[in-house]
Symmetry: C2
Subunit: 334 residues, 2 copies
């Protein structure tokens, strides 16, 4: 239950990001790899297969950038939001690589990077990849209503990001390094509103960040940025308030990937972006670019996830959250 | 893509197994930890919560046997078949332990033991746990029909095991050792019959076992037992036939956990047991007992999984399979 410090920090050698039309039109659109897709179907007959296709393209792009072939990867760590994680299983079937399926809801990208880093640290693997995705149309009909129903969205609801991100990890020199990691615990503070996931996940983010800061004796101001994955406006505000009451000032350098990826007013994104792809594409596209330019050198990037299903909520249970933290640095600090 | 050989083989320190009424009444009933539960609800109002409760009891039992407390575990690796893996997330929420959610369908138990072993090998953890579960009633209504519908079962259909198993791993002396592991690739040979999962998963088992035997130059007869997770009669027969044609004689010492857990005639189990709990409870209850008695010393235990969802099959896709192999030995062979 303590912070993992990697003696030989795993490097992000390359990343690939594929996103949909709304994401390309957003403030970070220029940072993603994908060309604009006309209709978010990516040439596939169903939304679920489109999501798998995004994963395939993201990993293909990351491999191309890294100069590696799929045979060079010892393992894939992949997962998504769709029932039985089919976007990952079907989307990555062309790659001839040992496959570890994950489910961490929207924290899956962070979970994959932590497990990939642990795999490299074990000495049994030279290169691995972490991949995740979400698709607005496949997620909406699974977790809420069919899109054709035209259900009205509440102000606290978030917009599931259409996208996929893949990261190739190794122990040589890379674009940035996974220096420390703190895996999250399952935390449930009784929120049961499927249209307010930010509030449901905020307690997990507070739990993990507090544990990290206390154990390492770091202050929030020690980092260039602190980012949660997809708490949106609601969850971000809760984290700022409650961490502030506990003596941690997050008003200066804390943001949320769900606040960065859309223009809230212009794009009608309500409380901000969400989904596995939210934090993962922001890291793969935007944040790695800031590392490359030397704008940031040392950040905390936290994947947040809500571990309910529509069935568990319909059966009257509240929504458990989880938050996995990674400290990512421009230089290998070892 | 090669066999992982653990320099300091992780030990299974203790295991807990909780099963339902049908499993207690089967040939292996005496080997499981749980007392007979009257109605497979384990005191919970829904089947899904009953499944979570089995996970909670299995981990509690394993911890008690190991003499460890939950605070001693550095991580849990857990997953199940239910949408968004809620049996694990809700069932284990009482444990104050970092949580890695997995989805490998019925191979999840094997996936958790491999990832747990990798985590121990990385040096960042002293003890971890792997947990998985399935519940016949929650799986039937999710993957096939509501039980109340009374749908007729085809001869090739299998019976999802109601149960959960938890394993506590560490690097001290234990009941058995995870000496080698070979993670599986996603393999799809075009089977699309939801009532013949054995045939859908058999190609993945053949792929992994063939790779293992070729790389290590072992013959099947080198092992006391070779066990797949839940191929049942159909899949078991396919594996014996096709491996035999490839020059590997599996007629002597190869069985399947789905063939061991039920009495096919007396218990009306059709093609045998299946589900995450099938291979996991057979290892936790029956096989560890055989290790303890010195009946077996060196086995290959392979978790098999089918990575489809009802939606992917309804959309016309075939069923991809996966198979993770572990070599488990009575002595630490390093």
């Amino acid at each position: 239950m303590s912070v993992i410090r990697f003696a030989n920090a795993p490097a992000i050698l390359a990343a690939g990001s594929v996103v949909g039309k709304k994401e390309v039109e957003g403030p970070l659109g220029a940072f993603f790899d994908s060309p604009v897709s006309g209709d978010d179907r990516f040439g596939k007959p169903t939304w679920e297969q489109a999501e798998g296709e995004m994963q395939r393209r993201a990993l293909t792009t990351a491999l191309e950038k890294s100069g590696l072939r799929d045979k060079d990867l010892g393992a894939i760590f992949a997962g998504d939001l769709i029932n039985q994680c089919t976007s990952s299983a079907y989307g990555l079937i062309d790659f001839d690589i040992p496959y570890f399926g994950l489910y961490g809801a929207c924290s899956t990208g962070a979970e994959g990077l932590i497990l990939g880093s642990i795999a490299l640290a074990s000495g049994g693997f030279s290169h691995v990849a972490g991949i995740t995705s979400s698709h607005n149309s496949s997620a909406e009909r699974q977790f809420r209503y069919p899109i054709e129903y035209g259900g009205q969205r509440s102000p606290t609801s978030q917009w599931t990001v259409t996208g996929a991100a893949a990261f190739v990890l190794g122990t040589e020199r890379g674009e940035a390094y996974i220096t420390e990691a703190l895996p999250g615990r399952v935390i449930d503070h009784g929120i049961s509103d499927l249209n307010n996931m930010g509030a449901a996940m905020a307690p997990a983010a507070i739990d993990t960040l507090t544990r990290y800061l206390k154990e390492t004796s770091h202050r929030p101001s020690d980092f260039d940025m602190i980012l949660t994955g997809d708490l949106g406006y609601e969850g971000h505000g809760i984290v700022v308030d409650l961490m502030g009451q506990a003596g941690f000032d997050l008003t200066k350098n804390y943001s949320d990937c769900g606040l960065l990826i859309y223009d809230r007013e212009r794009q009608d994104a309500h409380a901000g972006g969400s989904g596995c792809a939210c934090s993962a594409t922001v890291l793969a596209g935007y944040l790695l670019n800031l590392f490359r330019k030397g704008v940031i050198h040392d950040i905390l990037w936290m994947g947040t996830g809500a571990l309910m299903s529509p069935l568990s909520v319909n059966q009257g249970l509240s929504i458990p959250g989880i938050c996995h933290l990674l400290r990512i640095t421009k230089e290998n600090m070892q």
